[in-house]
């Protein structure tokens, strides 16, 4: 899950070195927290949250394959 998000995010931000991703497991599934450089925040969220929503959709494909649920939080 982490590799998928990391690949997408690092490909679209200006500062790939400042991308940080943490994963937490809970009963509700996997919670992924994404942190990027302040000037990259707009790039990973997108207009009206379009980029974030598209990333969530692709994470859900992987989650379905893994038979789990996933939530993405952008810090």
């Amino acid at each position: 899950m982490r590799e998928l998000l990391e690949y997408i995010v690092k490909s679209i931000v200006a500062e790939p070195d400042k991308v940080s991703i943490t994963e937490e497991n809970s009963d509700a599934g996997l919670l992924i927290k994404l942190d990027v450089a302040p000037e990259d925040k707009g790039r990973v969220i997108g207009r009206q949250g379009r980029v974030a929503e598209a990333m969530r959709t692709l994470l859900r494909v992987k989650a379905a394959k893994d038979d789990t649920r996933v939530r993405l939080e952008i810090l």
Binding site: L4, Y7, V51, A54, M55, L58, V61, A64, K65
Partner: protein, 210 residues
């Protein structure tokens, strides 16, 4: 992309400034020197150099290659078995994924496919610094949907003509509405427009006046 004018101190600094502003390396843009500039004495009385830079559009084959690689990588990371094929090497570039059990990549009303298409475009644009027309399809889903929308548009146009009454379609996405508009753009007797806001925007087909 547009030309950009850069002003900097004489010497190589204008090029460095251009690389910084465009986020590209020297071989990705053309440079025309407007003025070489002059260095003054103790930094006084100098003239700044002015250059114009224009990003080079990568050849279509590069876009096809990068897009294919990006899509293949995403499939691998999502653990979806599919093979990427290139349907069009020319603009608009079209890729399609073939394989078994690809419904998971299409999603409800093509929502997952739309997300995949968008992310591939974003990554390709990020790598090549240009936004080129590019479309990703899964097992010909978009193609079939486009064709059925085109048929629907033509059938409804016929109905509008024979009954002399406007027809309103159900709410559709911007992409779907565009297909209806384009299909009927050259129609001799009917015209189209959209009504409503946001997710409720609908296409209306009506008779041309006069």
């Amino acid at each position: 992309m547009e030309e950009l004018e850069i002003t900097a101190k004489p010497g190589e600094q204008a090029i460095e400034e251009a690389e910084r502003q465009l986020g590209m390396s020297r071989d990705q843009f053309e440079v025309a020197v407007m003025s070489e500039g002059k260095s003054g004495v103790f930094g006084i009385g100098g003239e700044e150099a002015v250059i114009r830079v224009k990003p080079l559009t990568p050849p279509e084959e590069d876009v096809v290659k990068v897009a294919t690689d990006v899509l293949t990588k995403l499939l691998e990371l999502m653990e979806v078995n599919g093979k990427v094929e290139v349907l069009s090497h020319e603009i608009p570039i079209a890729l399609n994924i073939e394989g078994d059990d690809l419904g998971i990549l299409i999603g409800r009303r093509g929502q997952t496919l739309a997300s995949l298409d968008y992310i591939v475009k974003l990554i390709v644009a990020g790598q090549l610094k240009v936004w080129l027309p590019l479309s990703v399809d899964v097992a010909g889903y978009k193609k079939r949907r486009d064709e059925s929308l085109q048929r629907l548009a033509l059938n409804l146009a016929e109905q509008v003509e024979s009954r002399h009454r406007a027809v309103t379609l159900e709410p559709m996405s911007a992409y779907e509405r565009r297909i209806v508009h384009l299909t009927l753009a050259d129609h001799p007797d009917v015209t189209t427009h959209s009504l409503g806001e946001g997710v409720n925007r609908q296409v209306v087909i009506l008779l041309k006046q006069g």
